[in-house]
Each structure stands twice: as structure tokens, then as C-alpha cells.
Amino acid sequence: MNQAITPANTLLSVNGLVCHFPLKAPLFGKTPGVVRAVDGIDFALAEGETLGIVGESGCGKSTTSRLIMALQKPTAGEVIFNGLAVGSDASAGGITLNDYRRQVQMVFQDSSASLNPRLTIAESIAFAPGIHGLDRAEATRRAHEMLDAVGLDPARYAERYPHELSGGQRQRVNIARALALRPKLVILDEPVSALDKSVEAQVLNLLGDLKQRFGLTYLFISHDLNVVHHVSDRVLVMYLGQIVEIGPVDDIFARPGHPYTKALLASRPNLLPGQRRSDPPLLGDPPNPINPPSGCRFRTRCDRAEPPCSDTPPPLTTLGKDHQAACLMNLPGSGHSAAPGIAA
């Protein structure tokens, strides 16, 4: 499962991705500020893996997914799919958006807002294959096949409208629609957050089965660490638009290298009253991404922060195989008292 990322099996890579949203200009003087939603992230996705992205609201995880899906134009940086730059012409060594979206599809959190209420679910699923050149009968056949794959009997459900389905069934339809073009990569943006627990488990199992059956790669965005732990091969932790830690799921959950990751893990409620905590692992809310703190962006909430943290933005430092964290405590000679000495 945890194969190394080599150029040969890299499906998607993200290089120096930045997305700033300008604020409205103030009435007098001063240049308008920007929301630094995503502020310089790099990572690669290997074929067949599931990469989980976690972080609090406003950390840029959804913006990242929209950038990868090319629903949002980046301020800087590029997305490379199968070695081809997304959005440029084939003559320039790229892949057009039309071809790209045939291979990369997305499932959103809100299952009813993402379906057209005036189309039957078979029409919704058959829509994209129709656009991409299948004739009507063939597209409908594909829709029925996909409905069957997600566990909804086409004979019973194909002609229904979204409002006639439960939340879990609607999310299955969204998954079927995403898979109708036979994509290689599926971006799942909080796909189970709006579902009840018993339905959540059904959908997670379904996603696991479909991944096996169609040989999919998943980018799984969630704020629920238990869910991410369950489904992911690797985990990426974001804070205020930047990557603070990335690595194999077992390493991250057993030996988190960044104080923020530790705090996130410790914030999970316990089922057993015997393990109740008396102090919260983190105080306050995440700071505003308009004016992020200097140096390490987490330092204002970090109990291990020291003077060097406000001067030096910590680079991602390798902690183990494929495991990196951006904290000065891991960087030799960073000036933080907990940092290892510089190896001779």
C-alpha cells in the first residue's frame, strides 16, 4: 500500500500552488488585502493510493480540491496530471480541461445541492457521458450500470428525482455520476460529513469496494480524523493554507511530528468516560488567513513556541520514510531549544 512516490507511478502532482482571494479595496488609501487561502503547497499523488487531507475550516483544504479540479484558477503554481500540465494545449505538452475532467471527477459534501432537482437521477448520471460523446441509449445504459455499482437498483431508482431519495442514497448517486466517465482520480470533498453514522459506514464501505473494482485513486478531504484514519494510505495536514505535515497514515497517527497534528489527534472525543480530559489540547480559534502570523503560522496557538518560531517559516523536514513535518523542533540547528543538533 505504502509504495514510494516515484515518477513512474505519480498520477498527479501539485507544484507551488498558491491561491489568494483579493478583498474589496478600502475606500481610502491602502492596497486591498488578500485572503491567503492556499499559500504554496507541493505534493504528489501515486496511482492507486488514497491521500487524506485534514485541517480545520478555513485551512484551505476545499480550495485545494477546487484548484486540482480546475474549478478555481490558481494565483501561481501548476497541476501536473500523468506528466501533462493541466489546462494547456496538447501541442504545448499539456492536457486540455475537457480531457482532464474525463479522468478526474469530484464528489461534494452537500448531496442535494450538487444534483439538478429537475433531472431524474439516471439523466443526471448520463449527462456527462452524453457530453463526452456517448449516444443517448449508451449513456443511459452506462447510468444504469453505475447505479447498480453503487447499490441502487436501476429498475427502482433510475426514474426518481433527487428529492425522493434519502441523503445516503443521494450521495450514492453523486458517486455514480462521478464514476460514469470512468475517471482515474476521484476527489472526495467531505463525502460523508452530512450523513448519519450508520449511513456513513455504508458509504465508506462502498467507496472502498469501488476503489478496488475500478482501480481508482482517491483524494479524500475530511475534518473527521477517524474517517481519514480508516480510509487513507497517506495523510496531509493543512494549517492556514500550508502543509504542516504529510506522511503514511500509521506514522502520522502513531508518531505525529507537528504540534498541530498532535493537538488535532488529541481533540478527538473519547467514547469512554474513563479517558476524559480536563484541559483542551488547543486554545482559541484558527487565526485569520488574511493576516497570518509571521514565521510559523501555528506559533500563536502552539505551547512549544519560542522566539525563532516568529522569524523563520519552518520548511518541511524529513522525519522518516515519506514522512515530513514543518516544525523548527525537527530542523537541526533551527535555534529552537528542542531541535536536534547539527549532525557532524
Partner: protein, 319 residues
């Protein structure tokens, strides 16, 4: 005497097109200083039960039967005038979404003060001083400045704390909480849960906490009641219910909860989905989804049978 006593509560919503039997017979007691969590999925009737305790369900379309007593007050028979005094003074509620529960055109200080002035008839200046104390009680940093802030100027966590301050402003005996941490980030959720637990102990309140999240129940509850299709199907002390659930639905819910230690294995699921509540059920409402159901399950609604301090509504547990 217990703080809350609910007997055979049913809540029915009568609409033009359909009638929904949202709560179909709920009985429970809450002792002073006790925290009860009502755990259930959407549509199970947990929020409707909670609102019935404050008579907040829409009066025109709601039919309530049974009895509800809170701190000696009969809620079902109370007049609108009496309810005004009970709400806020004896029992108050915090909601899931503070942005919609707070009034956007008044400052936090005004909204807290309004409640104190209405119930205690104090002056505006006294109310403002009390509001400041309350903001400090709920650990809002730079409370003095926040008193004059409007809801949109606060972060989600601070808004939720401000709503807790309003709810506590007249020292209620009973606090009702309807998923107050669901919309918050994990790091903020645990802060608010710990705050609520501390306040509950310091102020000696009874709390009824509605949630769909087993982890939240584990952090805050003394006792847990699991609700399904409008009825309690299991009830008991939190530790025992979390480790050895009796009812097949509670077992399924715990099995379906994702832990990291089941990584890579398929999760236990409960097949199907909850029943529509247009008709009151004549048998066990969970039987169609239950893998240990027998024909006798459909012959009548099983009773909530007691086993020491635990109870379950299942004929197979009673046996």
C-alpha cells in the same frame, strides 16, 4: 424529587398532506445535576423531544400528549404567560447554529442583558455588569470589548460561547443543548464540551444534551438514551452503554462508528434506513433492519424493560 419527569410523551405534527408521529411514547427522569445525552440519527425525534421540554414546537401544528414536569412546572398545561417565565428562568436552550440563533442587529451585551432585565427587572447598568461577568464565566477573551461586538464579528467558537452565556444568564436549573458543537471544528468542539462540563458542575445544573456523535456523548454524559423512530430503545450509564450495548440498534451504531483500529477492514453497517413516521409503528420499529429479528418482533411494540440501572426495548434482551 427529580428535576425533569417525562411520562408517555408523544408529539405529532399534523400537516395538510401528512401527519408525522415524531415522538411515539417517551418516558424518562432526570435527577438534579445529572447529564443525559439523547443519541440518535436525523429524524429519530431527539430534537423534537428536547423542544417539547420547553414547548418550542410550533403550537399550531403540534399535538402533544403525556406529561412533562420540569422543576415542578407542568409544561404541557402551562399558559403562554407562564411559559415566558419558565423559559430562560428555569430551563434554557443552546442551539446548533449560533449565527441563526443570535440576533444579528443587537450586540452580544444587549442580547444577554435583555434576558436578565426581562426576568429579574434590574437596571440596564446592572444587566451590563452581569453580562460582563457571564462572558468571563464562558471564557471569552477580552470580554469587555466583546460586550459591544455584533455576532458577525465573532468566530464560531466565540459565538457559541456567547450563546451559552445568554442561556446561563438567569441561572436555569436545566440546560437543554441541541447539538451545540456539531458545527464547530474539532479543536474548538473539545473546548466547548469541556466548558459545558465545567459550568454544569459549578452551577449544579441538570443538562439534556442531544447529539448524533457517540464521542460527544462519551465526553459529557452521565447517562445515555439511544433514540430510534421516536422512542428510546436503550438507556443506561454511559460507560456500560458504550462498552456493552444491549439493543441491536445501539450495537449497530457503535459498530458503524469509525475507529482507526479497524483500518482497511469493512465497517459493520446497519442495512437500510430509518422508517418513515407517517404511521405509528405496530411492532418493533427496528425489526426491518435488524439481523436478529424474529416474527414475534412485529407482534407489538416491545416494552422498555429494566435491567438494574439499564433499560432496553427489545424482546430478545428481555428474555
Amino acid at each position: 424529587m427529580s428535576l425533569v419527569s417525562v411520562r408517555d410523551l408523544t408529539v405529532t405534527f399534523v400537516g395538510r398532506d401528512r401527519t408525522v408521529h415524531a415522538v411515539g411514547g417517551v418516558d424518562f427522569d432526570l435527577a438534579e445535576r445529572e447529564v443525559l445525552c439523547i443519541l440518535g440519527e436525523s429524524g429519530s425525534g431527539k430534537s423534537v423531544t428536547l423542544r417539547a421540554l420547553m414547548a418550542l414546537n410550533p403550537a399550531k401544528t403540534t399535538r402533544v400528549t403525556g406529561s412533562i414536569t420540569v422543576d415542578g412546572h407542568d409544561i404541557v398545561a402551562a399558559s403562554p404567560r407562564q411559559l415566558e417565565n419558565i423559559r430562560g428562568g428555569v430551563v434554557s436552550m443552546i442551539f446548533q447554529e449560533p449565527m441563526t440563533a443570535l440576533d444579528p442587529v443587537f450586540t452580544i451585551g444587549q442580547q444577554i442583558g435583555e434576558t436578565i432585565i426581562r426576568h429579574e427587572g434590574v437596571s440596564r447598568a446592572t444587566a451590563r455588569a452581569r453580562a460582563l461577568d457571564l462572558l468571563e464565566l464562558v471564557q471569552i477573551p477580552s470580554a469587555k470589548r466583546r460586550l459591544d461586538a455584533y455576532p458577525h464579528e465573532l468566530s464560531g467558537g466565540l459565538r457559541q460561547r456567547a450563546m451559552i452565556a445568554i442561556a446561563l444568564s438567569c441561572k436555569p436549573r436545566l440546560l437543554l443543548a441541541d447539538e451545540p458543537t456539531t458545527a464547530l471544528d474539532a479543536t474548538v468542539q473539545i473546548q466547548v464540551l469541556l466548558l459545558l462540563r465545567r459550568l454544569q458542575q459549578e452551577l449544579g445544573m441538570g443538562v439534556i444534551f442531544v447529539t448524533h456523535d457517540l464521542g460527544v456523548a462519551g465526553e459529557i454524559a452521565d447517562r445515555v438514551a439511544v433514540m430510534y423512530a421516536g422512542r428510546f430503545v436503550e438507556e443506561g450509564p454511559v460507560a456500560e452503554l458504550m462498552t456493552k450495548p444491549l439493543h441491536p440498534y445501539a450495537q449497530g451504531l457503535l459498530g458503524a462508528t469509525v475507529h482507526g483500529d479497524k483500518r482497511g477492514e469493512p465497517l459493520t453497517t446497519i442495512p437500510g434506513s430509518p422508517p418513515a413516521l407517517d404511521q405509528p409503528s405496530t411492532g418493533c420499529a427496528f425489526a426491518p433492519r435488524c439481523d436478529v429479528a424474529i416474527p414475534a418482533c412485529l407482534e407489538g411494540v416491545p416494552l422498555l424493560s429494566r435491567h438494574g440501572d439499564r433499560a432496553a426495548r427489545c424482546i430478545r434482551v428481555a428474555a
